[in-house]
Symmetry: C2
Subunit: 219 residues, 2 copies
DNA sequence: CATAATAGACTAACCGGTCGGTATATTATC
DNA sequence: GATAATATACCGACCGGTTAGTCTATTATG
């Protein structure tokens, strides 16, 4: 038992190092083409050490997905946790954060959750479910922020926040996918822009036209 | 008794059969997890025969992507080639066609182009480029239809058709992805619905008030 | 010293691709 | 029009490299 105290034990550090390098490799090459030998070489550990910390490649995959989900969602939550901004400003901050995450990799690696989802979801139900949960949480984050926009009168009263949040997640993931395939950041940026534009020019219904979200020019 | 006239030769039929079964397998399991042995067993041919028709697995992958691109795009073009419908009706028909293609597979297999794109684009530049071309063509199809809507007064004069077409493709591919991951058709349907809704309530400016509802253009 | 952690040789299965060979059609030659 | 020559199509055993995972031995660490 080397576990007492608050400091991270050596084993925990090793495990984290393995997950970190595995994440980079799987982000770059996908799950199947990332071999255990790749991972241990990158992390500087041996086979025996690896299999002391992980029982299988699948368990490593789970750890990678878990860590990536937490990393991404915490960055998004951080972007939304800005009391100094209006609800709309916070959504914008969140979208920019996504854009930043993707552009850190030149848009050429896409989104690790989307990548692993499409590659492995038919063979690894546990991967699939964990990733589905991350997308659901992301959508809920957006939806609750849209609710706040609505409460602040920045959206029409009949605006369907949940549906639009799902739509935004789809448009973003799709944009990231097309950016990866075309090696061009503009599809993803275009998704960000057009999502933002939906919110741009709704005017608090002064009394006459509460029904439609208008789309007049703004900016 | 071959070769004469327009009939397909025996070799061509075999090749097509191989591609067809390979497409189903790669749609289901992805590229890496589809083995040549899988393909030849499904198509009922032997290794030797396979390697007579294809020089490598990669060449098979190209053939699958090519065939899938043509198949999908031709179905979309067909849906758009309906002179009896209004431009908006044609877009709706195309979206329903996409929905149909995906729901034929219970939404659980996603889109074969998107799947292969995310799995292989970092290792197979030729796959990536061919798929990028298909997405580009799809977007152009939508954009030109939006142009017709605009000409028919169903969209504001400053509507940015190209940007919106890209956005629609992103939202659809993203919706298909989320539907695959969640095994639930609603995210994809939601994308279809919200795309259609964008067009729903623009009213032709009745000569006196030409700027009532318009959207900003450009980026 | 007990156990956590590391070391790395080894294995068994898998998989893409090869190779020598066969069968059947098409074309060339006399 | 018989036959030789060639091209097309197919057959399946086999090979070599790769890969996930195992096993036994050894070294830190509390």
């Amino acid at each position: 038992m080397a576990r007492t105290g608050s400091a991270e034990s050596k084993g925990e550090r090793t495990r984290r190092r393995i997950v970190g390098h595995a994440t980079l490799l799987m982000y770059e090459k996908g799950y199947a083409r990332t071999t255990i030998d790749d991972v241990i070489a990158a992390a500087g550990v041996t086979k025996g050490s690896f299999y002391f910390h992980f029982s299988s490649k699948e368990e490593l995959g789970c750890a990678v997905i878990e860590a990536a989900s937490e990393h991404i969602l915490s960055r998004l939550r951080e972007a939304l946790d800005r009391p100094d901004l209006s609800p709309r400003g916070r959504i914008e901050a969140m979208l920019k954060e996504i854009q930043g995450i993707v552009e850190e990799a030149d848009c050429s690696r896409g989104c690790i959750l989307g990548n692993l989802a499409l590659e492995t979801s038919s063979s690894h139900p546990d991967f699939r479910e964990r990733i589905a949960k991350a997308f659901r949480e992301w959508s809920e984050l957006i939806a609750s922020e849209l609710q706040e926009m609505k409460a602040a009168g920045e959206l029409p009263a009949d605006f369907d926040c949940a549906a639009y949040a799902d739509f935004a997640v789809s448009a973003l993931e799709g944009g990231i996918m097309i950016s990866k395939v075309t090696r061009d950041p503009s599809p993803m940026r275009n998704s960000v822009d057009l999502i933002l534009r939906q919110f741009e020019d709704y005017k608090k219904p002064d009394r006459d036209n509460p029904k439609t979200i208008s789309r007049r020019k703004g900016r």
